[in-house]
């Protein structure tokens, strides 16, 4: 057995402990040990964004974070985006705009888009497209995803819908 480190972290606001070998990614631990399978594996090289989570509030690919690096930090996953029964506006707008087909990129899109709107409540279409460039979607051509995020942004601002560029 390879040596393991005892890691203390917070996931979606809850204290969590786990054991991990140094080489295992945060993605592996989330999915295979903690059963948080909402975070998806698409490539393990940081190229697809399906495994997006936040680490101390910053958007990252969990496949490129060692699980042991979560020690003392805060991890946010897709499972922590909705508040109880209430969906986050990004989630709600993705549904209303039919902005998912197979849905496997959707958790990553949800995490990335909410992270964008926390930093930039009024993004342009171009800003949304570039922010989400690391989240590959092969089904939708992105059109409805971009519209949903812009719509969610305006709802969060309490404003009327953004006019597209």
């Amino acid at each position: 057995m390879d040596p393991k480190t005892h890691v203390h972290t917070h996931i979606n606001g809850e204290p969590v402990e786990f054991l991990s070998e140094a080489y295992r990614s945060l993605l592996e631990i989330l999915r295979d040990e903690l059963m948080l399978t909402g975070t998806k594996e698409g490539c393990t090289t940081g190229d697809c964004g399906a495994c997006s989570v936040t680490l101390d509030g910053r958007l990252v690919c969990s496949c490129l974070v060692l699980a042991v690096e979560a020690e003392g930090r805060r991890v946010g996953t897709v499972e922590g985006i909705a508040r109880g029964e209430t969906l986050h506006p990004v989630q709600q707008k993705l549904l209303e705009h039919a902005a998912l087909q197979c849905g496997v990129c959707t958790p990553g899109i949800v995490v990335a888009a909410t992270s964008l709107l926390e930093r930039n409540p009024d993004p342009t279409e171009r800003e949304v497209r570039y922010w989400l460039a690391g989240n590959l979607c092969r089904c939708t051509g992105y059109d409805k995803i971009i519209r949903a995020v812009l719509d969610a942004a305006s709802e969060l601002r309490g404003a009327s819908p953004n006019v597209l560029e």
């Binding site: 940081g46 910053r58 990252v60 060692l66 042991v68 690096e69 460039a133």
Partner: protein, 290 residues
């Protein structure tokens, strides 16, 4: 991956001690290259030394001297310093171009230097600013120009127990501005096929008094192109000077054929991007001299 250990020292000296004493120890900053190499079994370290808890490596300071950037500061954090965008728009652009938001959330400018990829985006931008590297090791601390840091693809001057602590960028002279451009087939998410960085200093008359031109992805390391810089200096930059700089940059490039581009294509685009980066840098500098 067998039996690799992980340490996250809180002090620089502890990190140096670990790197010096443990055979096969590797530093971990953003990890965006390291984890991929680890998974592909390209490297088999015995120990990973996480640098992100060491104050010197995570500090950002901007004063009269210039910018001091901790080697483990992520590109995303760098981008939150609006002062950096104002002073070094080219460096800022290069940090913004690396991978996705997710990658920028982890990848550091220091890691970009240490990984020593010929195509690293921030390195030509650093070279154009005249940045210097602060290296610490068992023998103490030394400082050297960034252009001397990488010695070949994946190779640096770092000796055993040494690590990159920070990058020091001198405060630009009045009328100075920089720009970084790269060519990728898509708009995002690719490795640079060609990168070009230009920094120029204009005097009140609009005449170019100083310039630095750097290129990436077209040689074994990112490199400065003194001839291209010389072509820009000595008068008001006009089409002739820009074309001369572009020719010099293209001529100095030493690209290879690979899956991302051909020699012919890279050489041509080196000239194109150098000219365009110079035009943008000049325009930015003009704004500043007004």
């Amino acid at each position: 991956m067998e039996s690799v250990r992980y340490e996250a020292p809180r002090e620089l000296s502890a990190a140096i001690e670990l790197l010096d004493s443990v055979e096969g120890a590797r530093v971990l900053a953003g990890g965006t290259d390291l984890l991929i190499q680890l998974r592909a079994a390209l490297i088999q370290p015995s120990l990973l030394v996480d640098l992100k808890w060491i104050p010197e490596l995570t500090a950002v300071s901007l004063d009269e001297e210039g910018l001091s950037l901790g080697a483990a500061v992520s590109c995303a954090e760098l981008r939150e310093h609006k002062q950096i965008e104002r002073l070094f728009p080219g460096l800022y652009e290069s940090a913004e171009l690396i991978g996705s938001e997710q990658i920028q959330g982890r990848a550091s400018v220091g890691g970009n230097l240490c990984n020593a990829s010929p195509a690293a985006d921030t390195v030509p931008a650093l070279l154009a600013t005249g940045a210097r590297c602060v290296v610490a090791g068992p023998g103490g601390t030394r400082t050297l120009p960034c252009e001397r840091f990488a010695t070949g693809p994946g190779e640096t001057i770092l000796g055993r127990g040494e690590l990159l602590v920070s990058i020091q960028i001198p405060k630009p002279a009045p009328g100075t501005a920089d720009c970084y451009l790269r060519l990728i087939p898509r708009t995002e998410m690719d490795i640079a096929v060609v990168g070009a960085a230009v920094s120029v200093t204009l005097d009140a008359s609009g005449s170019c008094t100083d310039a630095r031109v750097a290129q990436g992805a077209v040689g074994p390391t990112a490199s400065l192109v003194p001839d291209a810089a010389a072509a820009l200096v000595g008068g008001v930059p006009d089409v002739g000077r820009l074309e001369a700089a572009a020719r010099a940059a293209a001529g100095a490039s030493r690209p290879i054929d690979d899956k991302r581009g051909t020699v012919r294509y890279r050489r041509k685009v080196t000239g194109v991007l150098t000219r365009r980066a110079a035009e943008i840098a000049i325009e930015r500098a003009r704004q500043r001299t007004r």
